[in-house]
């Protein structure tokens, strides 16, 4: 069994990382550091790959974050669901792909499958290969935006398939959701598809998280900061 290191001592120290096949819901209010936390967790380790489905930031901005965190961009893939609506002629590259809008679940599904396929075939990283079978980290940033474009029932069905594929390829995935904009029914339905939940809160200028459902971790609130993709727990 492969374990994905997170850089968070509360996870790595207890169980050696997140178990392969885990799907995590990251619940957070707006204006928190949740996005940076998610990216920090899915930042690829040596020999690993990361894919981000971005409905909020352009592909170049996502890649810049990972570069600033010291990652090799050859192991980062982005499915960008915003650029194409303003720049229709934007063309796909092997690692940066574009769908016309977050409405386009057909396109998102295909781009995701194609990226996974190219990683397994060894054509993703300009001929460089990592570990095999390839450990793949995946982030959906964010479910909140997808829910603005598609109904909950449809998104649930889509996520049902996505989380199952994630398990099958033994990846780890994190899905961001704004917990202040959606009702309890929405949150509990989406939680059903997840293995664990990380919840973020903001108190004053400080960010806190707590982890639920990930083996060996405690559900206490932890104050944290993030700098260049590195999570630091503040005692």
């Amino acid at each position: 069994m492969y374990f994905y290191k997170t850089g968070i001592a509360q996870i790595d120290g207890v169980s050696g990382g997140i178990e392969a096949g885990t799907n995590i819901l990251l619940l957070a209010p707006p204006m928190s550091s949740a996005e940076q936390l998610a990216y920090a967790i899915i930042k690829p380790g040596p020999g690993e790959y990361s894919i981000v489905l971005s409905t909020n930031e352009r592909a170049a901005e996502v890649v810049d974050f990972f570069k600033s965190a010291g990652c090799d961009k050859k192991f980062i893939g982005v499915i960008d669901a915003i650029t194409k609506s303003s720049t229709p002629a934007t063309a796909d590259t092997p690692r940066l792909t574009f769908v016309s809008s977050p409405t386009d679940l057909t396109g998102i599904g295909i781009k995701f499958s194609n990226m996974i396929e190219s990683i397994f075939e060894g054509t993703f990283a300009d001929g460089e290969t990592g570990l095999f079978p390839p450990p793949i980290r995946f982030c959906v940033n964010s479910l909140s935006t997808l829910l603005m474009y598609r109904k909950l029932e449809v998104l649930y069905q889509f996520l049902h398939i996505l989380t199952a594929k994630q398990k099958r390829i033994e990846g780890v995935a994190i899905y961001l959701l704004n917990n202040e904009s959606f009702d309890d029914k929405t949150l509990s339905l989406i939680k059903q598809l997840m293995t664990g939940v990380i919840e973020v809160k903001v108190d004053g200028n400080d960010n806190y998280f707590r982890i639920m459902g990930i083996r060996g971790t405690q559900a206490d609130w932890q104050k944290f900061t993030i700098n260049k993709g590195q999570v630091t727990i503040v005692p």
């Binding site: 386009d104 057909t106 396109g107 295909i110 995701f112 398939i161 099958r168 390829i169």
Partner: protein, 387 residues
């Protein structure tokens, strides 16, 4: 008939799609099958049909660029009879219509107006957003309300999360004429795409699945393996070489300086939109142990027999028995018909103890047209065979 834009698939459907039909391309999430719909759009425009394309998930510009990337050439819309309703129109409707009923009326009004203005002959709809907003019957009813003089053909693509249950509703409640399900086997990643003709109203066709690959912007129905076998020196290697655009042969020179395959001949050909791989086996009985491996996943077989050598038919009969156990389409290529011989079809059938539905073709494996005719018949057989 309206072409699907894919010659091989048109042939399977008896020439294409009858005008006025309702067609569904059902897409399993994650499967790269968008070219089915796009091929039909390109073909309809090339035939100068008046089209309405409904794209609630994207803009016209983004769609045209995506289609060009998939197809390899830009869709030529200048001077063509084509109208669009896209994501921007949908957003306008959402903003202006306070209720679902009002939105439905607005959709209907726009579709009606464009259909009337253009005398639309084919409507292409990306349906899943309309299904989500209005449900199956009300959503589809919007497309059906097109007031053209002639009933337009309606072709929709739908991202199907609900599987066969939803397909049955398209067939039973909405009387769809053609339902094609586009799916993939998914292990670690999708490695095997295939389409299934779930239902056709105008031609009696059993439900059947055909693998496909995407090659140069085209859907290529893919027959991954046709096995060519027969007694030694019956002409199998010649058959594979004549049929193939590319061929690899693993040979060993025999005592008589003839080359006899001791592994196999492998040939590839692209024909009538199909990509086909031929595997020619050695004919000697000592290779029978490897035959099950070679036959594994084969979709059909050609038995090549030498009509000048009735003494070799016992061996051919044994090979037919081995293949029949696998239950796959089988044809007999009675080779060397250009040389003097006495065997007629009845004698061949008797000698090989053939079933009535096993075709026998008299050929010369050196003649391309003979070999292609055998393959054409076998492909036809394969595409109608219920595996």
């Amino acid at each position: 008939m309206i072409s699907t834009g894919m010659v091989g698939i048109d042939d399977m459907l008896g020439g294409g799609i009858p005008r006025g039909s309702k067609v569904l391309y059902s897409m399993e999430p994650g499967v790269n099958g968008q070219l089915f719909m796009i091929s039909a759009i390109y073909e309809a425009l090339a035939k100068d049909l008046s089209c309405l394309v409904i794209l609630p998930h994207t803009t016209v510009d983004a769609f045209l660029h995506d289609a060009a990337n998939l197809r390899g050439s830009m869709l030529q819309i200048t001077g063509r009879k084509i109208a669009f309703i896209d994501m921007i129109d949908r957003e306008r409707i959402q903003r202006s219509a306070p209720t679902r009923d009002a939105a439905e009326n607005e959709w209907r009004a726009r579709i009606n107006k464009l259909c009337k203005e253009n005398q639309t002959e084919v409507i292409f709809g990306y349906f899943d957003v309309m299904y989500e907003e209005f449900g199956l019957e009300r959503g589809f009813n919007l497309l059906e309300s097109c007031p053209s003089d002639k009933t337009p053909t309606i072709i929709i693509e739908h991202l199907n999360f609900e599987g066969n249950h939803l397909l049955e509703q398209f067939i039973e409640k909405l009387s769809f004429d053609l339902v094609v399900s586009i799916r993939a086997t998914f292990g670690l990643f999708p490695h095997f795409n295939f389409f299934t003709f779930v239902h056709t109203s105008w031609t009696p066709m059993q439900k059947r699945s055909v693998p496909f690959i995407i090659s140069n912007g085209r859907i290529a129905p893919y027959i991954p393996k046709i096995v060519v076998t027969g007694p030694p020196e019956s002409g199998k290697s010649t058959f594979v070489a004549t049929a193939s655009e590319r061929v690899r042969s693993i040979d060993r020179t025999g005592l008589s300086d003839d080359t006899t395959p001791v592994a196999m001949d492998v040939g590839w050909l692209h024909w009538k939109d199909f990509d086909i791989t031929l595997y020619g086996t050695p004919g000697q009985s000592q290779f029978d142990l490897s035959l099950p491996m070679i036959l594994k996943n084969a979709m059909g077989a050609v038995i090549v027999v030498d009509v000048t050598r009735p003494d070799s038919f016992a061996r051919a009969k044994h090979l037919i028995t081995l293949i029949s156990e696998r239950r796959m389409p089988l044809v007999i290529a009675a080779n060397k018909n250009d040389l003097p011989h006495r065997m007629n079809e009845v004698e061949i059938r008797t000698a090989l103890d053939l079933k009535k539905n096993t075709p026998v073709f008299f050929i010369s494996a050196k003649r391309n047209e003979d070999v292609r005719f055998v393959l054409e018949s076998l492909v036809d057989f394969i595409t109608q065979f219920s595996y």
